[in-house]
Every structure is written in C-alpha cells, then in structure tokens.
C-alpha cells in the first residue's frame, strides 16, 4: 500500500491542529467553539456506527455484508474521538455559561449543570461507550450478541444525556426533549452515509445490498428530518420567549440560509434522489448521495453549535474538522496497514493483527 494517503492524512491533521494551536494563543474561545462544533460531527460517527451494528445484530439483513466492515472501523475510532473532547473539558468556562460563576447564579438547573457532576457524567459516558464498543467489535457480525438489545437502550440514554451536556448546555436556559433523539438521528444518518460511501468506494456490493442501503438511507433521512422539523414546529407554534430564542439565533442572518440549505441537502434532495431507483441502484448515485449527506450533516453540526456561542461562525471550525478528520483517517490507514502485514507474510493465514482488518475480511 502506498504511504501517500497516510502522509496526506497526517499532514491534514497537523495543519488543522497547528492552526487551532496558534489560534488558541490569541482567542481560545473561538478555537474551542470551532472545536466543539466539529467534535459534534466526528463523535457521531462511532456512536451511530455502534447503534447500527447492534441493530444489525438484532435484525440481520444483507446490507450488513457491505456496511458492517466500515461500521466496525468507525467504532475503532471511538477512543480517539473521546480524547478529542479533553480540550473542551479542560476549559469549560470558555464555552459553557453555567461554568462561569457570574452567569450561573440565576440558573435554576445548577444542580445538574455544575463542573464536578459534568465531569462525572462524561466519565460515565466514556466508560459505557468503550465497554459497548468492545461488545460491538467482539460480538457483532456473528449472529448472536446478547448485548445488542441492552446496548441499544444504554446508547439511547447515554447519547441523549451526552448531547444535553455537551451541546445543548451551551445555552443553559434552553431545553428541548426532542434534542437528544434529533442528535441520535443525525448520528445514525452520518454513520450510515459514511458506511455506504466506504462500501461503494472499496467494497463489492450487489444490487440487493445497494437497494437495502438506499432504503435505509431514506429511512434515516426521514427520521432525522421528522425529529428536526417537529422540534422546530413545536417551538415555532408556542413562540415562547425562552424557547424561540434558540431558533432566532439560528434562523437570522446567514444562519437562516444555512438552515434552508441544510433542509434541502440533508432532507429534500437526498430523499428525492433515493426514491428514484436508478440512483438507488447505482454505485455512483449512492456514493454521491452519501457524500452530500455527510457534508450536510457536518454543516448541521456547525449550525447547531456555533450560533449558540458568542462570536458565531469561526474559521477554526473547518480547521478543527480537518484536524480531527485527518487524525481519524491517519489512525485508520495505520491500522489497515498493520493488519495487512501478517497476511502478506504467510499467505492466507487468518488476519488477527487489527480489528479493522478482521472487519475488512467480511467484505
């Protein structure tokens, strides 16, 4: 395997990381808000992948033959993703108003939003997720995984609360009970889109698998759109001052165009493309739709986080996205490389060196 992709990924990670590091000296808040917005996108991939793996363990389906190997690779990235949250955890007051003494005083929910409890919950999520990631990598794909059903329930609860903690609490006086499931819907969509893209680019897929993946993508688009629109509809209908402010910040100025573009690019457009069967059956069509969905989902994550923080959009968001994406890709390529060596030496011996490699074997 050529070293060039690995080097490019490392270069992207270093370039993005360097921009963020230099920026942090001048304006740490701007870097951190870009960092959190990008983190919201990248953490969704392993979490969504775990949910899809457990769902496949429970229900089966031929789409798994194509999608399970890339999903397993995404789960492997979970520890790295969790490490990427550390800068945010170290500098809570920069992002979260409830962590600043003066602004926290009038808040009624300080029993929940306070630094020690926040750290404790973050540690709990990390432990639960790492345990479930092990269960997903060990047990899934073999038809029997006793942890699949409890794992899905645990993930539903922990991801909901993690999204409340890390993303929703940047505006501590705002709350929405749909928010957690909306985030989960976006994560499922992102993970499924990336898995489909990977399956189309590297794997051999037959027409039945492509049709199943296309149908699942349609379902994921509908779920995400339904949850996002319902939250908007309820808040818009009630029009209460302490609720509508969330949407005022996200629909005024340029962010309004971002929202409209997101509804098109993550909702209407992929839906219209996927119900047209020539797109759904072709590799290029599915790959293009997946790429569009990933880009739109990244934009949605920025849209969810950045307008809620002082300063709004920052160029550190793309830089942080590049850094995190480069780091993930680099780790991935490195693991794939490591997994390839033993099989290259002794012919068809079972590849045991890396989990991604053992996943690739299925494809």
């Amino acid at each position: 395997m050529s070293r060039r992709p690995l080097l490019a990924a490392i270069a992207a990670a270093l370039a993005g990381g360097a921009v963020c590091a230099v920026g942090a000296l001048a304006d740490p808040q701007a870097v951190l808000r870009g960092w959190l917005a990008s983190f919201a996108f990248w953490i969704g991939l392993p979490l969504g992948a775990m949910m899809l793996l457990f769902a496949h363990d429970l229900t089966g389906g031929r789409w798994g033959v194509a999608a399970v190997p890339p999903l397993r690779v995404m789960v492997v990235l979970l520890p790295l993703m969790l490490l990427l949250l550390v800068p945010v955890l170290l500098l809570l007051p920069e992002l979260y108003p409830w962590a600043r003494a003066a602004e926290a005083a009038p808040l009624k929910n300080r029993f929940y939003l306070n630094a020690p409890f926040f750290y404790g919950r973050a540690a709990l999520y990390a432990v639960v997720w790492l345990g479930l990631a092990l269960a997903a990598l060990r047990g899934s794909g073999r038809g029997r995984n006793p942890l699949a059903a409890p794992g899905l329930i645990l993930l539903g609860l922990t991801v909901t609360f993690a999204s409340f903690d890390w993303f929703m609490s940047i505006e501590p006086d705002w709350g929405s009970s749909i928010y957690g499931m909306m985030i989960v819907g976006g994560q499922l969509l992102g993970a499924l889109a990336l898995a489909t893209l990977a399956a189309m680019l590297v794997g051999r897929t037959d027409a039945g698998q492509r049709r199943d993946l296309g149908s699942l993508l349609t379902a994921a688009v509908l779920l995400w759109f339904y949850l996002s629109f319902m939250q908007f509809l309820i808040v818009w209908q009630e029009n209460l001052p302490h609720e509508i402010t969330w949407y005022v910040a996200r629909l005024s100025g340029g962010w309004g165009w971002v929202a409209a573009l997101g509804a098109l690019a993550q909702g209407a457009l992929p839906f219209a493309a996927l119900i047209w069967w020539p797109v759904k059956r072709s590799r290029a069509g599915l790959a293009a739709v997946s790429l569009l969905l990933l880009a739109a989902h990244l934009m949605e994550c920025w849209w969810l986080i950045l307008p809620g923080l002082d300063g709004g959009f920052t160029w550190f968001a793309p830089a942080a996205t590049l850094a995190m994406g480069g780091a993930c890709t680099a780790v991935l390529l490195w693991r794939l490389d490591a997994g390839r060596l033993p099989s290259g030496r002794n012919g068809h011996a079972p590849r045991t060196a890396g989990l991604p490699a053992s996943g690739v074997r299925h494809g």
């Binding site: 039945g208 629109f229 908007f232 509809l233 818009w236 209908q237 029009n239 119900i275 069967w277």
Partner: protein
C-alpha cells in the same frame, strides 16, 4: 374466443407447477433461452427476477404515484393557505397568516392520502382488476398458486409440437408437474 393482449389465456397452453421459487426461476430462464416468449408466472408472492425474465417494462405506476403526491401536497397546502390567508384571515397569536410550518403536517397527510388513493386505483387498473374470471382458473390445481405453488403458464406455439422439448426442459417429478390447459 379472441386472444386478449397480455395474458393470452384463451390460447391453449401448458401449466408447470413448482414447489420452490428458485426451481421456477431456473425453469423460466431455460424456457426463455429456448425462445418461449408467451409466458406468465403465478405464485403466492412476488419472486425477484421474474419481471426481468418476462421482459416486463417498469410501468408508469411510480410516476403516477409521484405526480399524485405532488398534486396532493400542492392542493393540501393551497387548501390551508386559501382558508387561513385568503378567504378568512384570522390573527392567531400574532403568527403570520401564512404560517407554513403549521400547514406542513396537513400538507403531508393530504399528499399521503392522494398517493394512497391514486396509487391503489392505478395499481388495480394495471392489474386488470376488478376482473372476476379468467380461463386459467379452470386449470387443475391452479388454486395452489395462491397457497404454496409457483406456476408457469406456457402458451402453445403455433404449428409446433413442443411436448418433447418441454419434457426435456421441465423434467417431471422433483417438485415439478405439467398439465395441459385447454383453451
């Protein structure tokens, strides 16, 4: 009796019954290779690949359904817009007269209703329903097509005796049974 387009069931033919959809598909493939073109398949459920082998074109049904959905959505939205903004403007809680987010659920429901009604009627039309009788119903064992058998009807080709050829193509026994179907 005149020949009806499509089914051609007023023709004489043979009916081959299979216990297994895969065996039926395999036989259908062999029949197509031998040049049989007037074929029809009956079974308790749709079998993937049959449409391609029979040379059935994708019908207009998907387009009709999409058009019905579009019309239903436009009509549903206009119904509410006309009621709330044009015909009887009413200020509700200071919201704009054209409160499109609130119209969205009913717009969707009416689009779904239009799709369902138009789709169902168009589907019946394409299936030649409601048609209560077809000569093929008289074939012995035909009722099994709605239970557990997969049937291929093979039209008799004019001026040719295919009995021997069919016996080779569709060996009886092994879950295969061949019946003559009178016109």
């Amino acid at each position: 009796m005149s020949v009806r387009r499509g089914t051609g069931h007023s023709l004489r033919g043979r009916l081959a019954a299979f216990d297994d959809p895969d065996a039926m598909l395999e036989a259908l493939r062999r029949l197509r290779q031998e040049g049989f073109s007037q074929l029809e398949v009956y079974g308790p459920h749709a079998v993937e690949g049959v449409d391609e082998l029979l040379g059935r074109q994708a019908r207009a049904l998907p387009l009709i359904v999409v058009a019905a959905g579009g019309l239903g959505a436009v009509g549903g939205f206009f119904l509410q817009y006309w009621g709330m903004a044009l015909s009887y403007p009413l200020n509700i809680g200071g919201r704009p007269l054209n409160s499109w987010p609130a119209f969205a659920p009913s717009t969707f429901e009416l689009a779904a209703l239009a799709i369902l009604l138009v789709g169902f009627l168009a589907f019946c039309r394409f299936c030649r329903l409601p048609r209560l009788y077809d000569p093929i119903f008289d074939a012995p064992g035909f009722e099994r097509a709605s239970q557990d058998r997969f049937l291929i009807w093979i039209a008799e080709r004019e001026g040719r005796d295919d009995r021997e050829l069919l016996r080779q193509l569709l060996p009886e026994g092994d879950g295969v049974r061949i019946d003559e179907v009178p016109a």
